[in-house]
Each structure stands twice: as C-alpha cells, then as structure tokens.
C-alpha cells in the first residue's frame, strides 16, 4: 500500500460493523493499531446519548470497539487533548482536528511521527444545545425520542425510536438559524487530505452503501495503519469502483463550493472595522476560555496575550484580544471552538477569521494543511 491509493473497506467484527458508522472501518482500524502495538493509546468518543459524547484517551481495546462512531452534535476537538502528552497515539480527526494537530506539531507540542491521524470526511457539526432546540422547534420531536441521525442528499434526518425518519433540508434549517455551526458552514476542508488516511462514506456505491467506508491513503503512516488492520484481521478492503471515485470527487467539489459561498456571504467587506471589533468584544469577561480551547495555541499559562493584559486596564479593547488577533492571523484554522465556549457568545471565530482570511490569502498559507512553517515564525535579521 502507498500514498494515493484508495480502497473501500469494513470491519470484520459483526457488532462493530452494525454499531459503527459506515461499516465500522475506522473503529476497527484504531483497535487494530492498539492491539498490534502500532500505538500506545487511541482517542475515541465515549457516547453518553445522541447529543453528548466525551473524548477519551484509552489503551483499552474494548473501550475502542464500544466507542461512539460519528456524532454530528458533538463538536469536540482533539488537538489540545493529545498535546504535550508525548503519546504514540492514533485518533479519528475531522479536517479541523487534523489542522490543529499539525499546528501543534509545528509548535513541538505533538510529535507527528508518533501520531496516526485518521481523517474523517466532514460536512459540519452542530452544537448540541442548538440541536435539541431545533428538534423541538423545527422537527416537532422530543430530543429523548431520537434514536439515530444521518445526512443524505442535503437533508438532515433524525430517526425516532418508533422507526420514523424525520427529514428537513439543511438549507432550510440554516435559514432559520439552526443546523451546522457557523464555522462549519464556511469550512472548505471536507475531505481531510492533510491526514494520514482520509475516511468517509462519500464514494461508497451499490450494495455497500451504509456498510463500508471509502479510504484514501495520504501518507506512509496511513498505509501502515490500514495494512496493520488488514493483517490483524480487523478489516476487509477492496478497490473502489470508478463510479465511486468520481462520485466522491464530485461531492467534495460541491461541498467545497458551498463552503466558499458561505464564506463570501459571511465575510462581506465592512467600514469602520475598529468600531465593529470593539462592539463585538465589549462584553468579554476575561475567562480565557478561547485561548484554552484554541487548537493552534501552544503557549501555555505564560503567554503574550495574558502577560500584556491586566483586568485593571481600562482600554477600550484589551491587550489580550489584540495579541490574540495578531497571533491568529497566520494560525487560525476556523474550527469554531472559541465561539462555542465563549460565555458571552462573542462570535470569536468570525472575528479571528476577519483578520486571518486576508492574511492567509495574501501569504498563500493555510495553517494545518501541511508542514509549511507559519509565515510569522520566519524572522529575517538585517545583515
């Protein structure tokens, strides 16, 4: 196996195949990595209910095999979870997870040689509290009655315990303020080609629809991970048909195009930007959650944004935010975590992206997509 090859595969374990998403290939690949000691630990989601799962780092194969699979209403992020732990680890990762992990790698907080990144195709995730409200307001169903969820042909479908499928188009939901988190709407990384191996259901055809995963090997590590799972008897794979490969490429193109449209819709040019930023930040309570959760920040407790800032200052915009804007100019990956955790609902990702979009475009630099050094890391000394 080598970089660039594509396969369709599924778990050989019946229960994993039935419970896991798309044939349980990712779960089984992670379990095999653990069993064959390719890694010491694996990150998985431990499911609490349809709208809650908690990421755990585990060396227990059973815990991996019993993990949650993919949940759209669990917008977690794994980069900070494995940072500074010196782990030999394998983990599933959405595009933004992958980007955060790579940026932590550039900052020496994660050893990428020891990190096996299983990329997951991602059309976006939803905030669980918003999802619960959406179910009651838009679907007229009780969240407790939901048994499963899926996205198909632009529709978000919730299956209730009585077996009924309830579908509404994502466009309609998002028009009403529900659906995906804002940052997911304008994200353009739908197939994480920056991971070691990219996995998802796009491109699975015929009888295998819903029962298999399409994989693309992006690195030597990705090849090792897949081969290891095959050799361990955890998965079966076969070559995809041409139709599937074409279909996957088409979906990717359409999804990326939609993301680009959202980007243009949200980031319309504005006058008086300073006043806009001041207004948006005026309710900040200095909790520091946006820094703590930021998957590209690796400064720790002592950092410029916190050291230059004092709650006793009476500036109209705090030094904390000013320094963060500068730091994130070439580092923000638009994952949305900062907006998710802001206790006063400041749309922080949108603010950071307003700084980052023109900078990253000008510098032709996309953080987390490869190992290119961040432009602001470069220091040229005068001769």
């Amino acid at each position: 196996m080598e970089k660039g090859e594509m396969y369709v595969g599924w778990s050989t374990k019946d229960d994993v195949r039935k419970r896991g998403g798309s044939g349980g290939l990712v779960t089984s690949m992670l379990a095999a990595a653990l069993e064959k000691k390719l890694v010491d630990a694996v990150v998985v989601l431990k499911k609490i209910n349809e709208f809650e799962a908690v990421p755990i780092i585990t060396s227990d194969i059973n815990e991996v095999l019993n993990s949650a699979g993919s949940l759209h209403s669990v917008p977690s992020h794994f980069a900070k979870l494995i940072a500074n732990k010196n782990l030999k680890v394998a983990l599933p990762a959405k595009g933004c997870d992958v980007r955060g992990i790579i940026e932590q790698g550039k900052r020496n907080a994660i050893n990428l040689e020891n990190t096996f990144i299983v990329g997951l195709n991602c059309g976006g995730s939803m905030h669980p509290v918003v999802t619960r409200e959406m179910l009651e307001v838009m679907y007229k169903i009780k969240p407790e009655d939901v048994h499963g969820e899926e996205i198909e042909k632009g529709k978000l479908i919730f299956e209730t315990k009585d077996g009924k499928k309830n579908a509404i188009t994502i466009d309609e939901l998002e028009e009403k303020g529900y659906g995906r988190r804002e940052s997911c709407r304008y994200c353009t990384i739908k197939i994480p080609t920056n991971s070691d191996i990219a996995c998802g259901n796009w491109g699975v055809t015929g009888d295998l629809v819903g029962k298999a995963t399409f994989v693309e090997i992006n690195s030597e590590k990705g090849a090792r991970l897949l081969q290891n799972a095959v050799d361990a008897g955890y998965i079966q794979i076969q070559k995809p048909d041409e139709k599937g490969v074409a279909m996957r490429a088409k979906i990717k193109g359409v999804m990326e195009g939609l993301g680009q449209k959202w980007k243009e819709k949200i980031f319309v040019p504005m006058d008086n930007r300073l006043e806009y930023f001041r207004k948006e930040l005026e309710h900040c309570i200095d909790c520091g959650a946006c820094k703590t959760v930021c998957p590209t920040c690796s400064c720790g407790d002592v950092s410029k944004c916190t050291e230059y800032h004092s709650r006793g200052d009476a500036y109209k915009m705090s030094m904390y935010h000013l320094v963060r804007f500068l730091h994130l100019g070439d580092a923000c990956i638009g994952c949305g975590q900062c907006s998710d955790v802001c206790p006063v609902d400041i749309p922080l990702t949108r603010l950071y992206r307003r700084f980052a979009n023109p900078i990253q475009q000008e510098l032709k630099y996309e953080p987390g997509m490869d190992m290119q050094k961040p432009p602001y890391f470069e220091v040229k000394l005068n001769e």
Partner: protein, 471 residues
C-alpha cells in the same frame, strides 16, 4: 491508560454550569457543550477549577490521619461539647449530604443566610428562581446585580433577551454595558416596573435583608417576577431541604461564638474564612471542617472527603433544575455517618430528596414544577447609602477567597480620580475601621464616592463599608 472523566457541575455558584473534569496525571476542565444551563460555557472561576480542586488532607490537630479517624475524633469532640456546637453548611455539596448533615445539625443549623429575618411566605420565591429561558423571553429585565462580575453566565441570556427586544435596566453603582438604562441605587424611585418586568437580584450570606425585602416589595407592588441568583453550588437545594428547619443566621452564629456560647463549629464544604472574621474563629475550642478541597483556614480537625466532582448525588440550580454530580463517591456520607453514630444510606436520602422536590427521576433537561406562591405585603426599610466614600464588595463566587486572581484593584470614576489627583498607574490609599491599604485603581463609570471591588480586601464590613480615600 484511560482517562477518568467526571461529568459534573461547577461549584462556583448556583448557576448550574455543567462541565467535565478530566483526571489524567493532572486535572483539566473540559467543556460539556450539551449542558442545558450553560451550553458548555464557563466563567473565569470555572476555568480556574483545576486550581480550586486542590485535594484536602484529613488532619487531627495538625497531624495527618485517615478520614475515618478524623471523623471519629470529630464525633468525640462534638459529643463532649454538647450544647455548644454549631453546624454550618452554605450549600456547596449534594442534596443527599445536606440532608444527612441536617439530621445531625438539628440543634443549631446555620445555612449562612438570614431566612429568619424574612417573611415565611417569601421563602419559596427566594429559594427557587425563574428558568433562564423565561429570562431570555422577558420584555423588561431589572438587574440588582453586576452580571459580568457576579454571575457571568447570565450575561448571554440577557444579551439574547435584548436581541428579542427586551429592555434592560440596571440598578447598580456602575453603568453596565448591556443595560439600556442605568439607575443608581439611591435613585430607586426612578425605577418603573410593570407586570412584564423580571427583577434579577441575589441572595447570599452577606445580603442586607432589608434590601432583599425591598426588592421583594418592589416586585410585589408592580406584579413583576423576581428571581434571586445564589452563590453556592447547591444553594437552592440547601434552602429547599432546610425550609422547615429552625435556623440561625450567620450574624447570630458569629455573635454566639464571640459570646462563648458556641465553642465547637462543624463546617461542611463551607468557605468560612471568607465569611467569619479570623478573631471570631480563634475563639473556638474546636473548628471541624469537612471538605473536598484544601483551605487556608486552620482547623482542629479536617475531614477530607471526595471533591464535588467525584461525589454521587444531586444538586439543584437557580432555576430549580435537578442535576447529578456525576461521580460515585459517598465517603462524605460515610464520614457524616460516623459523626451521627449511625450509617446513612445514599439511596434512602436520594429517594427522600426526590419526594421533597416531587420528581420520580432526575432529568437535567426538565425543570420540575414548583409552587410559586404569592407572598403578602412587605415593609422594607433599606438604609440609604451615606454620601461619603464607600467600598462596595461585589465579588463572587465566594470561593475566589483562597484562589489567586487578577482582581486586585478597585474601580472608581474619573471625578474621584481628578478630585484626589490620582496618577495613572498609581495607587489609592483606603482607610477603614483602623485598617489602611493601598490599591491599584481602574477608571470606570462608577457612581461618585463609590469604590467597587471584585476581591475581598479584608477591611469590609458587609457589602458596603464606609472608607476614607486619599492619594
């Protein structure tokens, strides 16, 4: 390797913020985005929890011991001091522990607040607040708190209410950013309330009961709703459980210790150093503390039990929402059982709590239906603030007391800065009750002659302390 993860509730106040505590060598806070009270969002205190959860060690007279031995020794000393023992719990632990504690404490229970000074028919209104989504849907919201400093997670609810058209009036010593109208407490006569108004105030051990009565009276006269936010993780549960029990106020407890009628104090999960003067505490023969985290207060006996996030049990938030703590630990109940002389059964206590609340199962997504009885007319006589400099303590949560924070400044207005010729980056001298200190200051839209502090300085006498200020 496998993480120990606890889905729990923040102990910082009674807002009921859900979060994960992750134990993996170190302690980390993780955001529980599905939590109905806070959607995973946390304030500065919540983000500081790894520092707060500094494990306690069981001790007898300064010598480390086991929890069981400490509890046995506590039982002995409590028994020997019969008639001069007081029991204090501010509401920082599970309902089940509080119920057990109350059974032990029947002779002298203090929950820190002064219910005795308030009309009995207002207990329920004070104890159980209004659901946050009702606040979001309000047409007019009146704040008798500084939400940014005291209960930060209410800010987003207020901002959401504003986007839906609500008008926000702040009755506060400082202009609040989110308020459409700012009224100083001295100008309360300018406040116009209607049946569409929701008043948000707070109720805690330092609350001026006349001011609480005043707020209740304003609401009553206008037909407005009122909700009291509270500072301890399970204040609401504490008040529900103890509502029919004779209680002593904190002032009474301090007085009784000073008089020598109380010689032994048993405090359960209560940050007493923040509320009881050290010279009063020094008069006790025995100070017994049962807690889940270390405290700077020097106690004769420390009974170290599980921290809140490891406990089994329930708490009730400001809205009346019943939430589970997420752990499996019951050693707090075991210790209380040793002191009581008979074991407490968790399940029996839990069932009793459910019966009291009127629920059959704990479901954090459904707020139980509580009676919200009307209360009668109230006579209130709030003291007017004197027209001379006063230090006003707005800090919360109380548990900041032992934690390092960057709140070490006072807020004052530009008039005061100019009158005193204070220099930018300089300090302000504050004198009160024979104590003097120097503090950094921050210019803010604060009322003339008022200093606001978000950090206890040790010179305060209640919420409002007259002070002399100079350069």
């Amino acid at each position: 390797m496998s993480d120990n993860i606890y889905s729990t509730i923040c102990p910082g106040c009674n807002f009921g913020c859900g979060l994960y505590i992750r134990e993996n060598g170190s302690l980390d806070v993780d955001f529980r985005k599905s939590s109905p009270a806070n959607a995973g969002k946390l304030c500065r205190f919540g983000m500081s929890l790894p520092k707060f959860f500094n494990p306690a060690k069981s001790m007898i007279d300064g010598v480390e011991t086991t929890m069981e031995e400490a509890a046995k020794e506590a039982a002995k000393r409590i028994s020997a001091s019969k008639g001069s023992v007081a029991f204090l719990s501010l509401g920082n632990t599970s309902n089940e522990e509080l119920l057990a504690f109350q059974k032990i404490a029947e002779s002298y229970l203090c929950t820190g607040v002064n219910f005795e000074a308030l009309p009995k028919d207002t207990y329920q209104t004070i104890s159980i607040g209004i659901p946050y989504n009702e606040i979001e849907a309000a047409k007019h919201i009146v704040l008798f708190i500084d939400p940014y400093e005291q209960y930060p997670l209410i800010v987003r609810r207020l901002l959401l209410a504003k986007t839906k058209g609500a008008k926000i009036t702040a009755v506060w010593w400082k202009d609040l950013m989110l308020a459409d109208e700012n009224i100083r407490p001295d100008d309360i006569s300018k406040l116009a309330l209607t049946q569409d108004s929701i008043i948000i105030s707070d109720f805690h051990p330092l609350s001026d009961t006349e001011q609480v009565k005043n707020v209740l009276s304003l609401a009553k006269n206008a037909g407005a709703k009122v909700t009291f936010l509270k500072p301890f993780a399970n204040s609401t549960g504490e008040y529900i459980i103890s509502k029919d029990t004779k209680q002593k106020s904190l002032a009474q407890l301090i007085d009784d210790i000073n008089k020598g009628t109380i010689k032994t104090l048993f405090a359960l999960e209560s940050d007493i150093a923040a509320l009881i003067p050290s010279d009063t505490l020094s008069k006790l023969t025995n100070l017994i503390i049962q807690a889940g985290q270390a405290s700077s207060t020097k106690a004769n006996i420390v009974i170290a039990h599980d921290p809140l996030y490891k406990k089994k049990g329930t708490v009730i938030n400001n809205e009346g929402r019943v939430q589970t703590l997420g752990g499996a630990g019951t050693n707090g109940l075991e210790a209380l059982g040793i002191i009581a002389g008979s074991k407490f059964d968790f399940n029996t206590l839990h069932e009793s709590i459910k019966k009291t609340i009127g629920i059959t199962a704990v479901d954090e997504f459904t707020i139980p239906k509580y009676d919200r009885p009307a209360y009668g007319a109230i006579q209130a006589a709030p003291k007017p603030v004197e027209k001379k400099p006063a230090l006003i303590d707005v800090y919360n949560p109380f548990m900041w007391f032992d934690l390092a924070d960057d709140n070490d400044f006072v807020e004052l207005n530009l008039n005061t800065v100019r009158a005193l010729k204070l220099l930018k980056g300089g300090t302000l001298k504050i004198k009160s009750n024979g104590s003097a200190l120097e503090k950094k200051f921050k210019v803010a839209p604060v009322q003339d002659n008022v200093l606001l502090t978000g950090k206890s300085m040790g010179i305060e006498k209640g919420i409002i302390t007259p002070v002399e200020i100079s350069r």
